[in-house]
Point group: C2
Chain length 346, copies 2
């Protein structure tokens, strides 16, 4: 081995020796838990600088019961991972970094609770952020039993005792239906998520569709729901079907980012101009994604960055011993008109 000697990182003992103080004094200078005279503090600090001292994270964690690492569980499952999901990750990551924590990625499937147990009991992480939460999420009891602080990005069936941030999906449907109803649409298509996800209780899919149906009934609008896989191909097929219905569908709403791309292709190939002859709008996609398609899409969704950031704050509050207050947040829908909806034709 040529020049691959690892330069041994300076330890607290080295700093103490150089500064001529005891090790514990160095610790207190670092944490401020006990008072230190100005003079010694300066000696210690210059010694640290000279040695390039950085506290060993492992030892800190072992001794202090805190690793400074938060984990993000983002199952890359049936639904795939898209631009919009990444917004949450990025936001959470930034927020976590600002608070002096590190973010660890865990791509484990929701069902893989054996791995979860192992990982949680490793003592590696201080807390966990959960994405892709289901109605009866098997990960929640595991985390509770392990005494691991966590925050959901989403909700379970009964989240009353949990810490979570989520979009208020129940408002999405009514908002969209009202918007389209005001424009005179009577037959509205809906491109939702796959049945498999609905069946396992994927919250956004369930709650959004419930709201759609309720408001559609109220407003005398006929809803044509299609549950399809998150693929462009599936979106094409769904749109083709919708176009054959009578009376004709004049607008479509989507909760399926990938499928919507296929749907737009079909509309284009049928020479249906948007929004003059057909209206489209999407739920819960990021601004970037909404502008990616031609034309840009009018959307109803949430501020993803805020959600990620808030989840982080809630989790850290729990870490800091706040076990009493209820930390729950439902994010109001954000309507962004990008001109893809217009008055119903005829």
């Amino acid at each position: 081995m040529p020049s691959s000697k690892k330069p041994k990182q300076a330890t607290r003992a080295d700093v103490a020796r150089l500064a001529g103080v005891s090790e514990s004094t160095v610790s207190y200078a670092l944490t401020g838990v006990r008072p230190i005279s100005e003079e010694t503090r300066e000696r210690i600090e210059s010694a640290m600088k000279e040695l390039g001292y950085v506290p060993n994270a492992m030892a800190q964690a072992l001794a202090g019961k805190r690793s400074g690492i938060l984990a993000l569980l983002f199952p890359v499952g049936e639904r795939g991972f898209n631009e919009t999901d990444f917004e949450y990750v990025q936001a959470a990551n930034e927020a976590v970094a600002e608070d002096g924590y590190q973010l660890l990625l865990w791509p484990n499937a929701v069902e893989d609770i054996e791995s979860l147990k192992k990982i949680v009991n490793q003592g590696l992480v201080d807390g966990v952020l959960l994405m892709e939460v289901r109605s009866e999420d098997p990960r929640v009891p595991v985390l509770i039993e392990a005494g691991m602080p966590f925050c959901l990005i989403g909700r379970t069936e009964d989240p009353s005792k949990l810490t979570y941030v989520d979009a208020d999906f129940s408002q999405w449907g009514p908002l969209a239906i009202r918007h389209l109803g005001d424009l005179g649409h009577k037959q509205v298509g809906y491109i939702g998520i796959a049945d498999e996800l609905i069946n396992v209780g994927y919250g956004p899919g369930v709650r959004t569709e419930t709201g759609l149906h309720e408001e559609a009934g109220r407003a005398g609008i006929t809803l044509h729901p299609k549950h399809v896989a998150a693929t462009i191909r599936a979106g094409r097929a769904a749109m083709e079907e919708l176009l054959t219905s009578t009376p004709p569908v004049t607008a479509v709403i989507s909760l399926n980012e990938s499928a919507m791309v296929g749907a737009l292709e079909v509309l284009a190939s049928h020479d249906l101009s948007i929004p003059e002859q057909f209206s489209v709008m999407s739920f819960g996609i990021s601004e970037i994604a909404a502008n990616m398609t031609v034309p840009s899409q009018t959307t109803i969704g949430v501020e993803g960055k805020d959600l990620g950031r808030m989840a982080d704050q809630y989790l850290i509050a729990r870490l800091n011993g706040d076990n009493k207050s209820v930390l729950q947040h439902l994010s109001a829908p954000v309507f962004a008109d990008r001109g893809s909806t217009g008055p119903a034709p005829e």
Copy 2:
């Protein structure tokens, strides 16, 4: 505090007591470093199962000099973060997990080497994967000095002594120009990345464009390069400019995923049908991204998953003490014809 008592995780001592052996015996049963009789091994294993014992990662790292954590440096800088970048992350994450490591995310900017130094010397991670590598990347010397194993996803100016995986960008330009040349195009637009990135030596931007110019000269094709920010707006402006040139541009190549979206909008608004009246193609975007636009785009790029996976393998090889062999890989370009290029008009 109501019921928030953390169930103290079982330790090696607990297992040893229950199994009626010493602590070190438990360790050896776990690591296999020394032989253990079949009988004791079984006693120990059932004790571990009964207690739900999971070794404490921090203590293991402290004592054993290995944390089992790899870090991924992915600067979310000027260029933004898109679907295609995420493919690398995901691939690396999966590969790392398969090898029993965890992936830590570090969104630090390339310039923020102070944070890097701190983080690297924390002893938290065993190795590092670098994304967004620049010609003279300031992070490289820091990592070398710290004796931290790393693998680049990309290359520096002189990577001869480094471990890296990268796409062979020098082939992208020639391949694209030849393809368009064969179709009879003579005036070709190019939508590249921002000048700021070129100036700091962002490899893909530099190497790709060099190849483009060389082959264009060889083939007698006039290249119209535009360096624009990674925004839809900037793409629109660039495309509008390109359409005013004489003789008219008949094809455009893009290395700028976001800007290309704007460019496609402009082409659509000018009623230029693709590929009959105008040809387009993109460098280095994922299949999903290529299919997201209307129409889908013909692309030249790399298999992102392979790169991420290979980077992981190389890094782990270094971790396992392989300091002699040269671990470097240039990934051959992949041409995917999605029908967005055709014969030059007229």
